[in-house]
Symmetry: C2
Subunit: 414 residues, 2 copies
């Protein structure tokens, strides 16, 4: 089953908005074995829109259209589709009722313009929109089935999951393609590549590739199977193989982050964390507390940006800072050690470094970061040189990830 996705909107052709709907839909279609051959983005104008819909219906079995279903004069997808089908638009009373109800629920009057969203090309059928006012449209032209969905991502996604996807599921005869990403930290893309080179060979199924995102190397697996079960089986087997080869470099899958994983580890182990941050400025505390339930494992954190603060909040001796500088191994150690002692936590992380762009010296260049990790037993300090080619934000982000990865490994007993 060949599929073409058409995105509609001046904001897209003008580059004011990046189209994320198309990638999302392409993934969903791949999962049910549909083959996406083309993406097309066209402005809110009837003629080109009509032209693209006609062409797509000649090239594909399924044409998914997103956008242009709003209530403004710019929203012309309905009109263009009606022109393609050679029919007029008619009012669908049931849809109009639903739109009215939408506004009633929110105690707002329904603008007259929204009536237009209840107009449908004669012969087409509406698709309910359960989280917005614009219903979708289902129609047939030539060899193709056409589904029009709203451009608002959430409305489109819910409509696809609820109605469009299930309808297509049965029709797609092609291979089911399932995707998964194994997330790793601690090795470069080339080193990861070396370790799984054979799994990455062309033509293999599942296909395996690596992607680097801000020092997190993801290993992407795409498994094709005659059915979902076969694809899942293949996916599982390759995922297991990759995990066994990369060992502790693997911290999670898909949407896992180092902080969500570490937070889960801490909660599971019933351990408490406190943080003492300088150059990361609270980034580590903010990351940990982003996870629901983190109050169970996070006691407190301090952002000791000034030297005075390091002394006041962490009891780091002023002369220690004077002797070695705020960005030094002894200060990082004192920060972590005292942070844990003062807050009574099980683990304390400390970070002090030079995030730049200024403040670097030949001995202590931008990107030099000391990370301390203290538990009841010991306090390790790691010196990290992140390289001055990184931006300030990147250096802060890397320092955060490096610190959280150290804690992750410690919690794994390494």
């Amino acid at each position: 089953m060949d599929a073409i996705i058409i995105s509609v909107g001046n904001e897209l052709t003008a580059g004011q908005t990046v189209d994320t709907n198309t990638a999302w839909l392409s993934q969903r279609l791949a999962e049910i074995g549909a083959h996406v051959t083309l993406h097309v983005t066209v402005a809110d104008e009837v003629a080109p829109l009509e032209r693209e819909i006609r062409r797509a219906c000649e090239l594909a079995d399924v044409v998914l259209i997103t956008g242009g279903l709003g209530h403004t004069e710019d929203d012309l997808t309905r009109e263009a589709l009606a022109t393609v089908l050679g029919v007029g638009l008619e009012l669908n009373e049931r849809c109009l009722e639903r739109i009215r109800a939408y506004f009633t629920q929110r105690q707002r009057p329904m603008p007259q313009a929204n009536t237009g969203q209840a107009m449908f090309p004669i012969g087409s059928t509406p698709i309910d929109n359960t989280c917005g006012t614009a219903p979708g449209i289902r129609a047939a032209f030539g060899r193709a089935t056409i589904y029009v969905m709203p451009g608002v991502p959430r409305e489109m996604q819910v409509m696809y999951e609820r109605d469009v996807g299930p309808e297509l599921q049965g029709r797609a005869a092609g291979a089911v393609i399932l995707a998964r990403t194994i997330q790793t930290f601690g090795a470069g893309e080339s080193e990861i590549g070396e370790r799984i080179r054979d799994l990455m060979s062309r033509g293999r199924n599942p296909t395996v590739g690596t992607t680097a995102q801000q020092a997190v190397i993801g290993v992407r697996i795409h498994a094709a199977g005659a059915g979902r079960t076969e694809a899942e089986h293949l996916l599982e087997r390759t995922a297991a193989e990759i995990k066994s080869r990369l060992g502790p470099l693997v911290f999670g899958e898909d949407d896992d982050t180092l902080w969500s994983v570490v937070t889960r580890q801490l909660i599971a182990a019933g351990k408490k964390l406190s943080t003492a941050e300088s150059c990361t400025g609270g980034l580590i505390a903010a990351s940990i507390t982003d996870t629901p339930g983190s109050s169970a494992c996070f006691i407190d954190g301090v952002v000791t940006y000034s030297n005075a603060a390091k002394t006041r909040l962490l009891a780091v001796p002023a002369d220690l800072i004077a002797a070695h500088g705020a960005v030094s191994r002894p200060v990082a150690e004192a920060m972590a050690h005292n942070c844990r002692r003062l807050s009574g936590s099980d683990y304390a992380i400390s970070v002090t470094g030079i995030a730049g762009p200024s403040g670097g010296t030949p001995e202590k260049p931008v990107g030099l970061v000391y990370i301390g990790l203290a538990d009841g037993g010991r306090c390790d300090v790691h010196e990290v040189r992140l390289g001055s080619f990184l931006t300030r934000s990147e250096i802060r982000d890397r320092a955060r990830k490096y610190a959280l990865n150290l804690l992750r490994l410690r919690l794994m007993g390494r």
Copy 2:
């Protein structure tokens, strides 16, 4: 001058990667008065690629192609273009030398496969790639000029800015379109809309529209002029009008954030800030310190997640917490007041609230946040009810923005 952008890559049609190149190029083209009529994304296969290039050359004066210039068997843009032009590929010695030099500089041997990147359709001309190995290609077919650029965003952007853009500049006879976004916080999209309704009327130049992004309402201006000067003039005039109408709701333009603006304000005023965060978990401190030079205005921050931490680090009386609860007006006030006093800063921000998803009660629902702002003179506490329909991350983000906006207004003397 009509332009069509073609993106090439299986990772795009499969939805594994979101295409950001096209939006970026569309903006650049609009700025020089080119009219982007269509975006097309096609997989790495010669036949469909050839078909789309042919069609684009019939519909547009300029065809920009990104991707498929790599050195793997998947990279077929060169071949497809040669087929369209009806010519073969020939080696360009100069380009091969540049590619060799690229590897020599990095003390790496040049893989044989990279030789392919020096192959060009006969009659086409190379475009230098100053930050990667793949040169671009300039060719002509039918009415159109074709520019092929690498898919790697940075390589593409540099190549466009350096060679392609300047070449097109002269040719585009259409209106120059310049864009700017006025960033506001503190009012809803509808309220903003009411105040500038007349400026948003259809057909007006500049066009004005609003976009809502996590409570920040951006007012987008697109000014069309015969030349850059005229467009700039129109843009300035409308921007000034919008700013005067929205007054203190406006915090910046384009890439400005509430934190970058507040940090600039503090540095300019020579004032120091300290933060006392509970539910935002360090987000405010992390935001402020993301700005270079923030050490000049940020002393320290505490993330007092537990009640004990509020007492230990901020001297909030335990019985005060017991009496009113950690999420309460008195506790927010004590946090801000003591934070300022203890750190010796000019301003202190405190945040305590219920970020959810759990922890809400009928009296204190998820989304209830108290924000304290203390300076030498007084300490205000604001109660914010963010609504339980927001996610945990959204509630934390809104609380951060609300707090920083209060400080922004205070620094403006309001």
